[in-house]
Symmetry: C2
Subunit: 341 residues, 2 copies
Amino acid sequence: MKHFVPLNFARQLVLLAWVFAISSAFAQSDPLPSWNDGSAKQAIVAFVQATTDRASPNFVPPGARIATFDQDGTLWVEHPMYSQVMYCLDRVPAVVKAKPELANVEPFKTVMSGNREAMAKLTKEDLFKILAATLTGMSVDQFQTETTAWLDKAKDPRWKQPYTQLTYLPMQEVLQFLRANGYKTYIVTGGGQDFVRVYSEQTYGIPPEQVVGTAGGTKYGYDKDGRPFLTKEPRLLLNDDNAGKVEGIHLMIGRRPYAAFGNSTGDREMLEYTKAGDGARLAMLVLHDDAQREYTYGPANGLPESKVGTFTQALYDEAQNKGWIVISMKNDWKRIFAFEP
Amino acid sequence: MKHFVPLNFARQLVLLAWVFAISSAFAQSDPLPSWNDGSAKQAIVAFVQATTDRASPNFVPPGARIATFDQDGTLWVEHPMYSQVMYCLDRVPAVVKAKPELANVEPFKTVMSGNREAMAKLTKEDLFKILAATLTGMSVDQFQTETTAWLDKAKDPRWKQPYTQLTYLPMQEVLQFLRANGYKTYIVTGGGQDFVRVYSEQTYGIPPEQVVGTAGGTKYGYDKDGRPFLTKEPRLLLNDDNAGKVEGIHLMIGRRPYAAFGNSTGDREMLEYTKAGDGARLAMLVLHDDAQREYTYGPANGLPESKVGTFTQALYDEAQNKGWIVISMKNDWKRIFAFEP
C-alpha cells in the first residue's frame, strides 16, 4: 500500500474525520444523563478528565485505571434485606428436605414457619447458620445452577421486579463512563463472591474475575465417573468487609484503586485506602435519602441503625472532612431505575 | 458526514485494504517462530483455530477465553533453585541485621555462613522459616521496593543474566499468540503472588491482577501520619500448588481455563481440571530434557527427584493416556532464550 498515494491521502482524511466525529460526540453527549447537575456529577466528570488527559499532571496510564464498587446499596437495592439473604432463606426448604432432621432445629424451624415477624428477629449467628447450610456443601457448578434458577424467578416484594433489574441507572452510567475511559471496573462486596459472579457480567458488564467478595474455600474431588469438581466448603478465606475489603483488593487486584464507591461503614477503609494514594482519587458514598423513589434509612438520615448498610453520622462527618463525596439519591439522581421513566 | 459520499466510499476502500492487509499478515507470519514443526506446535495452533473460528463447533466467546500458566519451569528457569528462594536467601543478612538475635539461630546461622553445601541440605521446614522471615512483616509497598531492587541487580549464576531475562522465548510466543486471539493469560504459580506480581507485567505482559499465586493475609493499619497501609502477615490464605491451583483459579478467576501449561506434578490438577471441561481444551507440560541448552532433571528423564519441579514417570504416563501434550525442550524448541541466537 506504500505507493498508492491517493488511498493514503484518503486514509488521512478518513482518520481526521473520525477524530473530529469522536471528539465532538464526546463533547456533545452527556455520559451521565440520569444525574442532575451538581457537585457529585461534576466530581465524576472532573476525575475522569484529570486521570485520562495525557496533558494532565494527574494522568493515569490505562493499565493502572482501577475503580472499585461496593454492590449492595451502592449498585443495587439492599433494603429491606440483601438479595443474597433472601436467596438463602428461600433455599431453606430444599435444605430441610434433604436433611429432615433440621426441621425442628433453630433457626431452620423459624424459617420453615414462614413467620416473617419471627424471621426478622433472627440473630447474626442464626443467619450465619443459614448461610453455611445454603451456600456450602454443594459443587460450584450446582451452586451456579441453583442461583441462576432463583434469580430467574425471584422478585423484589416492592417493585415486583427481578432483583437484577433493581440496579441504579445512574451507577450503571458511572460504570460505563469509567470503562469507556479505560477503567477496569470491579465489584468489591461483602456479599458472597460466588453469588455475585453468577450475574455480574449480564447485570453490570463486570466479568466474574472482576468480582471480589466474601469467599470460602473449595475442595477438589472426583465424581463417580472420575471427573474432577470443586465443593464449596464452610471455611472462610476472605471476609470482604471493612478492612477486609482492602485485603481483598490486595489479594485479587494487587493495586490501589483510583476510584471507590460505597454506601456504608463497611466501605470506609476501601475509600480511605483509595484516597490515600497520590494524584487524583475519587471516593464516593451513596446516601439513601429518597423515601419516595427508593428508601430512607440509617443514622446519617437521623434514623435508627438498619439491618443493612449502616451509614453512620461519623462516616458522614469523615466524608465531609476528607473530601469523600456524598451522593444524595434524592438530589443527585434524576432517575433511579431503568424500568421507571 | 452522511452526505459526503466520496469520503464514505474512500473509507470503505481503506477498510477493505486494511482487512486484506491484516488477514494476509496473519496467514503469512508464523506466530510461533521459535518452535520446531511438530505435534506440540500443531496442537497449539489447532487449539487456537478451533476455539476462535466462529464457524467451529468448539468456538469459545472472547470473554471465556482463559489460559493459565505455571511459572517456575514453565515460563522461566527454575533450576537449580527457584528465583524466589534465591531472593529469600539473599534477604537473610538484612533480616539478621534488623534482628541480631537470629544470627545464632538455625536456619539463619547456616545461611549467614555462606556455606553452599550446608545450605543445599536445608529442610523444607527450614525453608519455610526463611520464607516467613523474609516475605512477611513488612508493608506491601516496602516488599515491592525490596523485590524490585533485588531483581534489578541479581543475576543467574549460569547465564549471568537478570532472572527476568531467563524466560523461555517459545512460551513468550505462546502468551502473545493466545492474547492476540482474545485469550486472557494468567500465571497460576506455587510461588508467592506478591513476588511474581512485581515483574509479571514487564516480563510477560501479564498485569498483577492476572497473577494467582501462593498468598498470605495482610493487615490494615496506619503509619504515624495516619496514612493507611497493609502489612504482609505470616498467615497462609492460599497454597497455590497441586489441588490448590484449582482452588486458586476458582477464587481469583471464577471460570475453568480452556488451556493450561505446567511442568510438574504441582500442575497436575490444574491440567486435569482444564481438560475436564467440554469442547476443545489444551493441556501441556514442559519437559526439561535439554542438558546442553538448559537442564535435564526429574524422574521422567530417568533422573532422581529434584528440589524443583518434579516431573514423575506417573505424570508422564498420565499425560500420554489423557491427551496432555508433553513439550520436549530439546526437540520442540528452536530457541530457548531471547538473549541467545
